[in-house]
Symmetry: C2
Amino acid sequence: MENFSFYVPTTVHFGKGQLANLASSIKQFGGTKVMLAYGGGSIKANGIYAAVTDELEKAGIPYVDCDGIRPNPPVADVRKGIAIYRENHCDFILAVGGGSTIDAAKAMAAGVCYDGDVMDLMADGNGEIKAAAPLASILTMAGTGSELDMGGVITGEVNHKKHTIMHPFLYPKFSILDPAFTFSVPEKHSMAGCFDAFDHLLECYFVAGSESTDVQNMMNEGLMRSIVKNAPKVLANPEDYDARANIMWASSMALAGFQFAAGKKGSNWPMHGMGHELSSLYDMTHGITLALIAPSYLAYTLEKVPEYTWLFAAFARNVFGVTEVEDALAAQLGIAKVKEFTLTLKMPNNLKEAGVAEDKLDYLAEKATEWGSIGALCPINKEDALEIYRRAFEN
Amino acid sequence: MENFSFYVPTTVHFGKGQLANLASSIKQFGGTKVMLAYGGGSIKANGIYAAVTDELEKAGIPYVDCDGIRPNPPVADVRKGIAIYRENHCDFILAVGGGSTIDAAKAMAAGVCYDGDVMDLMADGNGEIKAAAPLASILTMAGTGSELDMGGVITGEVNHKKHTIMHPFLYPKFSILDPAFTFSVPEKHSMAGCFDAFDHLLECYFVAGSESTDVQNMMNEGLMRSIVKNAPKVLANPEDYDARANIMWASSMALAGFQFAAGKKGSNWPMHGMGHELSSLYDMTHGITLALIAPSYLAYTLEKVPEYTWLFAAFARNVFGVTEVEDALAAQLGIAKVKEFTLTLKMPNNLKEAGVAEDKLDYLAEKATEWGSIGALCPINKEDALEIYRRAFEN
């Protein structure tokens, strides 16, 4: 097992009615004037905005709105938030929304404490995060896990490139997770969120060094299994509290710092890398891009690293209950189950069906590997990426 | 799913050579004079003491020793530590050892900030923990999980009763987990530690309300499975780094605050309660008492709550790979596997073999239920407890 560190300082208040902890928690972390960051207004339609502001008003905590944060949040939205925060002399950021809103709020939290442009603070920038405003989240859509991790993804101005921002200062101070807040999430986004969480686990599972990490592998398998069981329940009944609760907690656990990739050789999240290029070019929903890429990526990787057939077989058996005793066959069945799972979640069948143009595949492969090869079990260079995109195009 | 909160602020540095983080981590939390708390001197024999003090000396951090902390730590040892800390004007406690040492250090951390006697601060006492000295741990024996939780168990003066101390202030600021530090733990204690960790998971698994907690159940199953796989490897080769690493991380995860009992109806840790009485009366190793109680407790509970047969069956299949399709039979096979596992770990076969006198069973049952019935799937009163002890006596 490789060395690792574990650190998850966020307090989670999970369950019905946990919004009651909002005001006292903000005060606990010194917040006296809050910037409320949110998206396109669905929280106004479903009553969450009113419930949140009511809690703030009852406690006498003033707030200003930073609304209109878009999916795949563009840096312009982050800059807008930084300006609002400064103009209004806020000292606390409360993100109310899903992954995009929380990710944007993290970048704002770092940006308000930095003199230069916030793009400098991205992982590929020249700046350094030396401080951040305290932030917290109220989750209204499960999937990204941003509510319990220290990272975010922001869309830059050049070619809509995705940039990562990450620092321990960016852990939310607290996150309020009320499964009932996700009842009104549209089916498409609920299912995309389920696959996003599932894919985070895949990215941490199929990683070199997994021979020595039974604890991480086996906890991961359990978590994936819980998503496979509960996502169809959410599909069947969007107001199934326990199913929503399991999906919400699984999504958070998938990214929490005890990290299922901890102790392995490290992953650069190749499926996410390839998916981000699809989102950049077509503004596709993140979880959908992952569902489109995952089966082809896994099948291609298995061909490249037959020595990891045992891992694919364990995955098949322990996540999907495949009973085949022969490893090579079990491994194939497991990948087929992933594909089947994406279809259960009503994801598009392939890139073609999702509206991707075949003549863009080369460009996508080029961009996905422009900083070098990706991959977690074996290197994926441009040619490999192109083959994966090709298979995903019409499989 | 029931509401819950999640909070685990401890930073873990896991792996070979992580002791290198010691001095900087102490300074990060403001430590300028350290009280080094440890047990009977095994850390001097195996070189860990020298390695730790070398790190402190290199960094110019003064320290004083608080040695001789005993297993099932008596409150006298805690009081001694409080006195040493105060006399020497320390401002940081570093526990180097296993669960007993870390538990005692937690009580010391609370006690040094309290004017009255430390026993007041136990869960059944009249005092309140309003502050605690910063403490950290260097783990030298896996099992209790005290390195990543906020509780401890102290043996009182009256009848050697076990008392719990618990508060968020008592989370270690950081814990250094180097699996190589556990290579020299004697077989008996290594195996008792494995079962202790396993039993923490059992206590969180067989709890009312498990119908709605797939995430917690399935992660728990994975973690139990990792212990079942790796404990025999430690037995076969005490210097198997990866096996020791898996046991160490599984033990920590078993008690970390994301809590496999979170979202259930709550457990009062009945097996621990019944085991503590054995430790109190016979000064038995904690993990051994659990191995003696668990199979009988599970079998008896299953008889009482046949409506939870599905949970016992899931346990059998997902932890021990039982393939029986009929739930009632699978459930029985799972319990038999637990018993078999205790014997694999070379635990005594029954209470009789462990030296317990048959005429003490009534007293044990009386003590275990003196504050009311225990049990997590159904109430266990004195008569139930007596029947469980009886079965454990000669099964």
